[in-house]
């Protein structure tokens, strides 16, 4: 029997959060953590968590599993369980709505802040804008972000300044547009980021890289933004 310890909090009935213990019979199968949660929800239907695609592309089910952030649907028990024990907590650093569901407003706000859309002030042609395969390659490792927030909520700098530091996810997206040969707003984008907090609160801790379920590297993108900011400094 797998021992599962889950963070529980329902603001309607609980004055404080607590950990609830469950036992799950996995019949020796190497299930995904999400499968275990579905089994638990059948035992206790009041358990709340988000999930959608169950294949690691929608980013709904970011969670802290035995101390490390990741997606429950693509994390096999064999990857996280230690001593037959699994501890599930909500993503750290964000307000808890209920159980494993966090309020992601500030995370989304930082995403919106970097103007996450192509800006191009030239008239669009009748067909697509051309882009060389080499220029397109520059977007690899950036556009794949699924906004699961595993990285930003693993980042101590984001924990301290979630309102001022854009955070690894938002900065990865900022660089995705800076790096796009079709985008003409580089100057404006950089000036929006040019303050002591937005980018420079990154201390190169690299928790973001360690947890990204898509294998992306926000620290590298942040480094590139720093270089651009320094090159543009007057």
């Amino acid at each position: 029997m797998l021992q599962v310890s889950i963070y529980r909090y329902n603001p309607e009935t609980d004055t404080a959060p607590y950990m609830q213990e469950f036992q799950v019979d996995t019949q020796g199968r190497d299930l995904m953590v999400l499968n275990v949660m579905e089994m638990l929800k059948e035992q206790d239907s009041s358990l709340a968590y988000r999930r959608s695609c169950r294949e690691g592309v929608c980013g709904s089910d970011g969670m802290n599993m035995n101390g490390k952030n990741g997606l429950t649907c693509v994390t096999a028990l064999s990857e996280v369980v230690k001593d037959n024990k699994l501890v599930l907590r909500p993503l750290p650093g964000l307000p808890v709505v209920r159980d494993l569901v966090v309020d992601m407003s500030i995370f989304y706000k930082q995403y919106e802040r970097i103007q996450p859309y192509l800006l191009n002030d030239t008239p669009a042609p009748a067909i697509e804008r051309l882009q060389s395969p080499e220029d397109r390659d520059k977007l690899d490792g950036l556009y794949e972000c699924i906004l699961c927030a595993c990285c930003s909520t693993a980042c101590p700098s984001f924990w301290w300044n979630p309102d001022k530091f854009v955070g690894p996810s938002g900065l990865l997206q900022a660089y995705r547009f800076l790096a796009d040969s079709r985008d003409t707003a580089t100057k404006e984008r950089l000036s929006e980021l040019d303050d002591p907090f937005a980018v420079f609160r990154c201390r190169g801790i690299m928790n973001c890289v360690a947890v990204c379920p898509k294998g992306l590297n926000p620290t590298r993108a942040i480094g590139k933004i720093r270089e651009l900011l320094l090159a543009n400094a007057t």
Binding site: C58, S60, L118, E128, P133
Partner: protein, 590 residues
């Protein structure tokens, strides 16, 4: 319920996937007060899982490509019950819609000349089937849906669309004249129920693959829009037509894109034989999905399946080489390792046909207006109601959708509905305000669950429903099994009507949402079952052992399921494209 708050928008769009976001974008660009209401944050919608691409004659891979060839493929792929005016509209408007996506920033893969990369997909041809395989599917590696959904969400942010994220639509509000004038919706985070009033209610709720035990679909694909339409007494069209994707990962059901075969992968049986050469000598592994899925099932039934239980076949990709896999199919390699414990660079992926797409849905015209039927069999527009994307049946997919046509359907018809609604609102529409009793009628089932004392649990009932559909309404169908299935569903409906919701809390109560979703799964399953039993022929994805042939004399028609009488009627297929000669039904071979 006099304390219930009401919200008012020019247009309310229910669903934040590709179709809903494209409609929302069109309307917010026009300055209309538009809200997109979605039960998940929009980028969690199932569009995100689309992999291989968006099929469209943008003439990049082949400068001589022609939208008419794409239209021909689509009509043939649909086994001739696709509406030809709609297929024509999609194929002619498609290039504009795709270029717009590119202008918004969608990171398409590229050819050396800088144009959008296109790959071959199933059922594609040049020169009306006479010129060999075409390469018409525009791709962003194998993450096209993700790229498309995020790009559309971003474009909506740019244009100030109002988002009601994590709100759940419960039922349509219908006024005394039968016009749809809004929807009852529940804020998941707070539990508050509101009435959302609007002159245009757009259903963009996606598919319902979760009626089957094995599906490529996200857990959220529960047919909420179909359920709402049926409870409002509206008919749904061609619900027997479910696509089983040839390559779902065995066991997990996770999708492996047809693009794998487009890039040169192929299926083999336990003898290592490339068996599609026998079933489709010309197109082979790139025949229509229905054809490939049936061939796979026949291989398995005839004892040539792979694995200990002989219950799957293999998708071979290793000969493509690491470079192609890394460059063109990186997501597949990831999914294969995670869910099949197989690295496709050196071993084949175990795959099996898996429920993937609902060709049927709410009948609409090319403007997305929902269509019901008058007593004389003529079409009747349902005022105030629109449907776009998978929940709609416009119908461009007929009895079998071609790969890459769903993403095109989303953006072309999301856009078209947005444009039509804008002009309708500009001309002015007036519907009767809903009365309190109209609103109360839409609250009945929420109240039922909220007042339930005890009863059978939702997950158990859901599992039974999925098993019934899997057993009786799969790739191959026959009368007696289907009759048994219909009977089992009818019993299940009574049990669901007495099922219990034990958690009555307000804040982020996902048990309540799952209960409400179960009602919708039930509606979809029943419509599917009864329509499948009634269509006594084999066409596209609907294959019957007892009626193995296509019957154009009786069934070159849409089926229309009427919920109140649980009756199946027929509706004419459109054979009147505006700018080209109609495509006459022919024997369909690949």
């Amino acid at each position: 319920m006099s304390t219930m708050r009401s919200l008012t928008f020019d247009a309310i769009i229910i669903g934040g996937g590709g179709a809903g976001l494209r409609a929302g974008l069109e309307l917010s660009q026009s300055g209309k007060k538009t809200a997109v209401l979605s039960k998940v944050f929009p980028t969690r919608s199932h569009t995100v899982s689309a992999q291989g691409g968006i099929t469209c004659a943008i003439a990049s891979a082949d400068p001589n490509d022609d939208w008419r060839w794409h239209m021909y493929d689509t009509v043939k792929g649909g086994d001739y019950i696709a509406d030809q005016d709609a297929a024509e509209y999609m194929c002619t408007e498609g290039p504009k819609a795709v270029f717009e996506l590119e202008h918004m920033g969608l990171p398409f893969s590229r050819f050396d000349n800088g144009r959008i990369y296109q790959r071959p997909f199933g059922g594609q041809s040049k020169d009306f089937g006479k010129g060999g395989q075409a390469a018409r599917t525009c791709a962003a590696a194998d993450r096209t849906g993700h790229a498309l959904l995020h790009t559309l969400y971003q474009a909506n942010l740019k244009n100030g669309t109002v988002f009601l994220d994590e709100w759940y639509a419960i039922d349509l509000v219908k006024n005394a004249n039968g016009d749809i004038v809004g929807v009852i919706a529940l804020c998941i985070e707070t539990g508050e129920t509101v009435v959302v009033k609007s002159k245009a209610t757009v259903l963009a709720t996606g598919g319902a693959g979760r009626i089957y035990a094995s599906t490529t679909n996200a857990l959220i694909n529960t047919g909420d829009g179909i359920g709402m339409a049926l409870r409002a007494g509206l008919p749904v069209q061609d619900m027997e037509m479910w696509q089983f994707h040839p390559t779902g990962i065995h066991g997990a059901g996770v999708l492996v894109t047809e693009g794998c075969r487009g890039e040169g992968g192929y299926l083999v049986n336990k003898d290592g034989e490339r068996f599609m050469e026998r079933y489709a000598p010309n197109a082979k592994d790139l025949a229509g999905r229905d054809v490939v899925a049936r061939s796979m099932v026949l291989e398995i039934l005839e004892g040539r399946g792979c694995g200990e239980n002989g219950d799957h076949v293999f998708l071979k990709l290793d000969h493509l080489g690491e470079e192609v896999l890394n460059k063109r199919l990186p997501g597949i390699s990831e999914l294969s390792k995670t869910f099949a414990h197989v690295d496709p660079t050196n071993a084949p992926i175990p795959v099996v046909p898996t429920c993937h797409y609902m060709m049927g849905g709410i009948a609409t015209n090319v403007h997305g207006q929902a269509i019901a039927q008058n007593e004389d069999g003529s079409d009747r527009i349902v005022n105030g109601l629109y449907a776009v994307g998978e929940v709609a049946c416009v119908s461009v997919h007929g009895a079998n959708r071609l790969g890459g046509n769903s993403l095109l359907d989303l953006v072309v018809f999301g856009r078209a509905a947005g444009k039509y609604i804008e002009s309708a609102l500009n001309e002015g529409v007036e519907y009767l305000e809903p009365t309190q009793s109209d609103i109360d009628a839409a609250l009945v089932r929420l109240n039922r669950w909220n007042e339930s004392e005890s009863g059978e649990s939702v997950p158990e009932l859901k599992r039974e429903l999925q098993q019934i559909m899997q057993n009786s309404f799969g790739v191959f169908r026959q009368e007696d099994k289907m009759e048994e299935g219909v009977k089992q569903l009818s019993d299940l409906r009574e049990r669901i009507a007495k099922a219990g919701l034990s958690d009555k809390s307000q804040v982020f109560n996902t048990a309540r949402i799952e209960a409400l979703e179960l009602d919708n799964l039930m509606e979809v399953a029943e419509a599917t079952a009864i329509a499948a039993l009634t269509r006594k022929e084999s066409r596209g994805a609907h294959s019957r052992y007892d009626f193995p042939d296509r019957d154009d004399e009786n069934w070159l028609k849409h089926s229309l399921f009427f919920p109140n009488e649980k009756r199946v009627g027929k509706r004419d297929v459109n054979f009147a494209p505006k700018t080209v000669e109609r495509f006459e039904p022919k024997i369909r071979t690949y």
